[in-house]
């Protein structure tokens, strides 16, 4: 099982769209995939039309009084399941803090389902918190959407530094450009010139596109309602490149 967390300190960069669309592509290619909606906003639950409700709240899962398999919901798509969000996730940091070895809890919770899924996508809320650190401990890779602007690249560098400083040697940082608007000169410059500190960013990128925004109307992954669109193809290419990159 590979655990991939869609993560960025910044909000509104396309983390949920990434988790949902990559999970869909991976599932269509035959992998058994699980998305865990860790954001109390519940956006990926919304896209999959699954009620953002966990019986007993997220606390019950962390305390392992509820089996993870008992809260998993099948999506409308073959091979693709979801652990929905819950409003209790807003307090997850407190729940984790009350546990011994708080940052190791998420990994332990996922262990029983390791044989059931090939990929688990963790759709993470923005910011750096105890939950984020738990995600860093559990994940094999951080799939990080980055808008091609100076400030976003600066934030990426901060994340890189955090990983290095905390000796998270097994965690692979896999950034890619997201919401790329080729009408914007700065986006084009960054995309084409790729300053030295960007060299590790994937070549595949996701365009800023209205069809991605339409996901909220369609409540489905983009591959479901707009299979031959540029954006859908972009996610296919992105997933292929991520697979080649993963250690």
């Amino acid at each position: 099982m590979k655990i991939l967390a869609t993560y960025n300190i910044k909000g509104g960069v396309g983390k949920t769209a990434t988790a949902v669309n990559l999970a869909y592509v991976a599932a269509r290619r035959g992998a058994r995939v699980l998305v865990w909606d860790l954001d109390p906003q519940g956006a990926s639950s919304f896209y999959f039309r699954i009620k953002p409700k966990l019986k007993g709240g997220s606390e019950k899962i962390i305390h392992r009084r509820a089996e993870l398999s008992g809260v998993i919901k099948g999506s409308d798509f073959d091979n693709l399941d979801l652990i929905p969000s819950d409003i209790s996730l807003r307090n997850l940091d407190l729940v984790l803090d009350n546990e011994k070895k708080p940052i190791k809890q998420l990994k332990k919770v996922l262990k029983p389902i390791a044989e059931d899924y090939e990929y688990v996508f963790l759709d993470c809320p923005p910011g750096i918190s105890l939950l984020s650190e738990s995600v860093f401990e559990a994940a094999n890779a951080l799939i990080s959407p980055v808008i091609p602007t100076t400030l976003s690249l600066r934030t990426l560098q901060q994340l890189q530094k955090f990983i290095e400083t905390n000796s998270l040697d097994k965690l692979q940082l896999v950034p890619f450009f997201s919401m790329v608007d080729r009408r914007k000169k700065l986006h084009c410059e960054i995309l084409e010139r790729r300053p030295d500190h960007c060299l590790h960013i994937l070549a595949s990128y996701i365009p800023y596109a209205s069809e991605i925004e339409r996901m909220g109307l369609e409540r489905a992954p983009i591959g479901q309602f707009s299979r031959s669109s540029k954006s859908a193809n972009a996610y296919e290419s992105l997933w292929s490149e991520i697979l080649e990159t993963l250690v």
Binding site: A31, R49, G74
Partner: protein
């Protein structure tokens, strides 16, 4: 994902059934699909033997592969793909490939049968328009060999969506209690094949011949030979088409078994009548050897690479190209030989021999003896020969002695397998396991020895050819050293394996089974 299947009796009308279900499910999205469903399995039904069926559904745009496991509540693994992969290594990495790999190994998936399906889908929706249950009503149609169509009737599939057990239970309750329907035990594949007068597992490479102990020996031997001949011919087209390497393997094993019967039981038929066939099948064994050897080298190639240090693994690739080129040429020659007049004549004469009636008063003394007596005599004699020859082998013995022991072991194994129906089940299994352990060790030793010799010959050939990189030859040299080491390890294990074979316990078991007082 749980799935249950129901066969709908003729008294039910599709339209009314859909109306009733929609009343029960309330919020429903109905759609219709039309597709062709092809059932795939290996020639020897490896998937079916493990309670699996593989369906490829297409509506003209891509394929949906569905592997169903009937031993675990109908669990299903699904893959959407552009075109059909026929070998495991053509599948993308994922759950389906992982499940198929240990079962199929090198066997090609073949289309066993197909049907056309018109499917009405009822997706029960919740208020978010999320599917919480899926019900499918299938009307299946097959094309018969005479060109006519046959309708197989209506089938209903109920698919539980993970995390939504209540709708699933509600529908099952309705089907069981209101409509009095029971889940179908027979797999759809079985029903489709039955409509073509076929059944699954209609081919097996194992010599499954039912013999009565008191049967006349010549009658029993002809029965065995007809069975082995049928197996050989069943694989012929697969060999000619080079479909997968197991066709040639099974073809050759049948040939060896036939030769073994002809030489081990030679006092059953007139010697002059049998002699040409012994030579003929010897010829068949010889002409099929080069192709089989190259199949094995190509199949082992990834293991060869894995045995080398990482830094030089890719240097071996020119050897793969060389093997592939030789393989293509050799298979072409084999196809030519199997289409030759010599081969056709062999098959015709052999068929004539097999179909000709038994002599009423044969001159050969073993012909009218009961088969169990002759079988026991031969098998016990071979066991004793293995013990005698094996005891003479020590660490200093030349390799040829182990190769000869292996040949005797093969003759014994074929005899034991062919006459299997004459022996008690549990003891037979124990005896064959110990024999197999010895044979495996001898096989590993001989195979590595031969590979060392042959790879050296390949490297000489490749050196004579222009363009072979030096590092490829160096990598082959390292490979030869590795294989020599493996061969030596197998040689060291021989003593233990033989000691198990010649143990008092094993010998008592074999005597009880095969020694006819």
């Amino acid at each position: 994902m749980k799935i249950l299947h129901f066969e709908i009796p003729k008294k039910f009308d599709e339209f009314n059934l859909i109306v009733d279900l929609k009343k029960l499910l309330l919020r429903v999205r109905q759609s219709e699909e039309q597709y062709t469903c092809t059932f795939y399995d290996s020639y020897d039904w490896r998937l079916y033997a493990k309670n699996l069926t593989l369906e490829a559904l297409t509506d003209g745009s891509g394929l949906r592969l569905s592997l169903r496991d009937f031993s675990s509540a109908g669990e299903e693994v699904i893959l959407n793909i552009a075109s059909m992969p026929y070998f495991v290594w053509d599948f993308p990495n994922g759950a389906l490939r992982t499940k198929l790999q240990p079962i199929l190994n090198v066997r090609r998936l073949l289309a066993q049968t197909e049907l056309r399906c018109r499917r009405v889908v009822l997706n029960q929706l919740n208020k978010d328009e999320k599917t919480v249950l899926r019900v499918e009503i299938d009307e299946n149609v097959i094309n018969l060999p005479d060109g006519k169509e046959k309708r197989l009737g209506l089938y209903l599939n109920v698919i539980e969506i993970t995390g939504y057990p209540k709708p699933y239970k509600k529908v099952l309750e309705f089907l069981r209690e209101t409509l009095q329907l029971k889940p179908r035990k027979r797999k759809l594949l079985v029903q489709v094949l039955a409509a073509h007068d076929r059944q699954p597992l209609d081919y097996s490479s194992k010599p499954d011949v039912q013999l009565e102990p008191q049967m006349r020996c010549d009658a029993a031997v002809k029965l065995i030979l007809r069975h082995l001949n049928a197996t050989m011919l069943a694989n012929q087209n697969g060999v000619l088409g080079n479909v997968d390497s197991e066709f040639l393997h099974d073809f050759r094993v049948s040939i060896r078994r036939i030769r073994s019967v002809l030489t081990q039981l030679k006092k059953v038929f007139p010697k002059d009548g049998l002699r040409p066939f012994v030579a003929d099948f010897g010829w068949l064994g010889k002409i099929t050897s080069p192709a089989r050897d190259l199949d094995v080298y190509l199949l082992s190639f990834d293991q060869y690479k894995a045995a080398l240090p990482i830094s030089i693994r890719d240097d071996l690739e020119p050897m793969r190209t060389y093997l592939q080129q030789r393989h293509d040429k050799v298979h072409e020659q084999l196809s030519h030989d199997l289409c030759s007049k010599h081969y056709q004549s062999l098959i015709e004469r052999w068929q004539y021999f097999l179909e000709s009636p038994l002599a009423e008063q044969p001159a050969e003394k073993d012909a009218t003896m009961p088969i169990y007596a002759i079988a026991n005599r031969r098998i016990w004699s071979l066991y004793q020969k293995i013990i005698r020859d094996g005891e003479r082998i020590d660490n200093r013995s030349p390799a040829q002695r182990l190769h000869d022991l292996r040949k005797t072991g093969k003759k014994l194994r074929y005899m034991v397998e062919i006459f299997r129906s004459l022996f008690a089940n549990k003891q037979y299994k124990e005896a064959i396991t110990i024999l197999k352990n010895l044979q495996d060790n001898l096989g590993v030793f001989q195979d590595y020895e031969m590979q060392v010799h042959t790879i050296k010959a390949f490297s000489q050939d490749m050196m004579a050819e222009k363009g072979t990189p030096v590092k490829a030859l160096l990598a082959m040299g390292v490979l030869v050293q590795v294989l020599e080491k493996y061969s030596h390890q197998a040689r060291l294990q021989f003593a233990d394996r033989f000691s198990e074979f010649e143990s008092k316990k094993h010998m008592k078991l074999c005597k009880d089974l095969f020694y006819d007082q």
